[in-house]
Chain length 360, copies 2
Amino acid sequence: MTEARVGGTVRIVGSGLLGASVGLGLRAHGVDVVVTDASRTAARLAVEYGAGRPPAETDAPALIVVAVPPDAIAEVVAAELAAFPDAIVTDVASVKSAPLAELAASGADLSRYVGSHPLAGRERGGPISARADLFLGRPWVVCTRSELGRARVSAVEALALDLGAIPVEMDAAVHDESVALVSHTPQLVSTLMARRLGGATDAALGLAGGGVRDVTRIASSDPALWVQILSANAATVASILRAYRGDLDEVIGALENIDEPGSRRSLAETLAGGNAGVARLPGKHGQDRRFASVVVLIDDRPGQLGRLFAELGELGVNIEDFRMEHSPGAQIGIAELAVVPEVLARTVEDLTARGWRIAG
Amino acid sequence: MTEARVGGTVRIVGSGLLGASVGLGLRAHGVDVVVTDASRTAARLAVEYGAGRPPAETDAPALIVVAVPPDAIAEVVAAELAAFPDAIVTDVASVKSAPLAELAASGADLSRYVGSHPLAGRERGGPISARADLFLGRPWVVCTRSELGRARVSAVEALALDLGAIPVEMDAAVHDESVALVSHTPQLVSTLMARRLGGATDAALGLAGGGVRDVTRIASSDPALWVQILSANAATVASILRAYRGDLDEVIGALENIDEPGSRRSLAETLAGGNAGVARLPGKHGQDRRFASVVVLIDDRPGQLGRLFAELGELGVNIEDFRMEHSPGAQIGIAELAVVPEVLARTVEDLTARGWRIAG
């Protein structure tokens, strides 16, 4: 057990996926964790899962983590600040400016509030989905403000570090603009595309490939949660969507007048702009130019992927990214491996020699 | 070697990714394949790669496969129909109505033309990316028309079957409407989202997670090819985009007036519509409700994925889908496995017992 950076008792308000995961992660370091929830059932479940203990009269938490839905953040944070006048209070909501403004308007003691946002979570919610490792390797935004002392910011960064996350200091407004662009707008773009599939014929859906599946995957997210997120960042998201609509209008105009001079060039420039935009995303991913791709055909039965990866391990090939795809009705899967270009030729050759079918 | 369904010599015009892959696949069945290209270099390369032999004066192909860019289809098909009056001619372009109309206008002998479209391909082009297995398990649309005899349609279906694809008969207009919805519109939606990232700050991009990456992955596609595809299906794509814009306007309106009655409800309905749309996509994929998900943490070094899959093989667990993700700067990868719900608990338990860290 590694010693925790956070000191004293940590009180968690809201025992859903995020709250219970924070509790599990801190308990793994031996921290005294109190877990509570407006729903007694949820609170009891989180305690049973080992996320912490029930509150006691004598509790004097040093740090309070508010992990309730975005709509309830300001009210709950204000109540916690008032109830525990010595505690630092943070929250983990995915919007930061609106709750802060609401808190300020309520006259709460903001000097002890440090908003934060771990970029983690899954589509499934509730304490039963919670994991101590949920935040491992993820960015955890900690919202700095000029009036906040370093010690208070550090207390929340200690929490992030204890949970294996990477603290990223950011102003609340900058945070909200950032997630509006890289999270909230993509959510709506995906949702609106998926909505068009509602009226599709089965014949059309039968031709769906990996592209449309990727574009619409996050459209399966929870509407109730997303209404709260989008409502709390409405103006910023609307402004990005207006710019998106401007580009969309240009594309529609070009398509409607495709034989006019300039239309094809306008489409080409839009597509090239997309190339440039996606190339800016950091990290190890499919479109990353640093990696080459090998496509291996896999029979749809147990152990085949195991054999493939065991052999790649024997060959000493590090897999940078991996993607699997099935065509409906096919007894074969397509596994796309990303490797550094230096080992591409050798990987293809060695896998072929071992009897794997490499596709284009 | 399995005996081929196609009979006689097959002539392939255009030795890029698709043409050369058709050649390689047919050569694997021992079919006599002639391969040609407007570029002598490309043709020679395809021959060297084993996709076929160069043309000879005495060639009398039974089937001709035109695999040139969409813009050139009609002209090349017309030339082939005229040069080989006994051959059936097909093409593999991803748009079907415009080339057909252009051909009809040119006075070509349409009774021997059967358009087709294999739903296969990769971002990379050229004969060096070609693979005999490119079409395995993929749908291959064969465009029927009332005046076409069954024998001519069957000849193209035999080609698809020889290459391991699944023939799907469809009217050209229905094909174009279908791919407008499941391929061309998602391409533009993804491109337009990616374009917004062009002006993003590094701080914002650092918060990018799996969602925006999925939405924008296909935005890295080749602009030159896509201008041709979109131009040849412009009216249909424009009409879907106008409906998309209608929904987008509603979302922007709701966000701009988020405190007005009905705005949140409108957002919720849009998000629920996205849920319903994405649920209609067939096949084995992340959002598929038939599968449960297990997230395993993987150290970023060779052999780890191999060990994981080897052990899953030993446990007899079939992996239905797989997705891998890295956070920037993290020395750890996150592998998400999809399994049938029946084996979920056992898989988590057995992997944990073997020392794997399972995340939420």
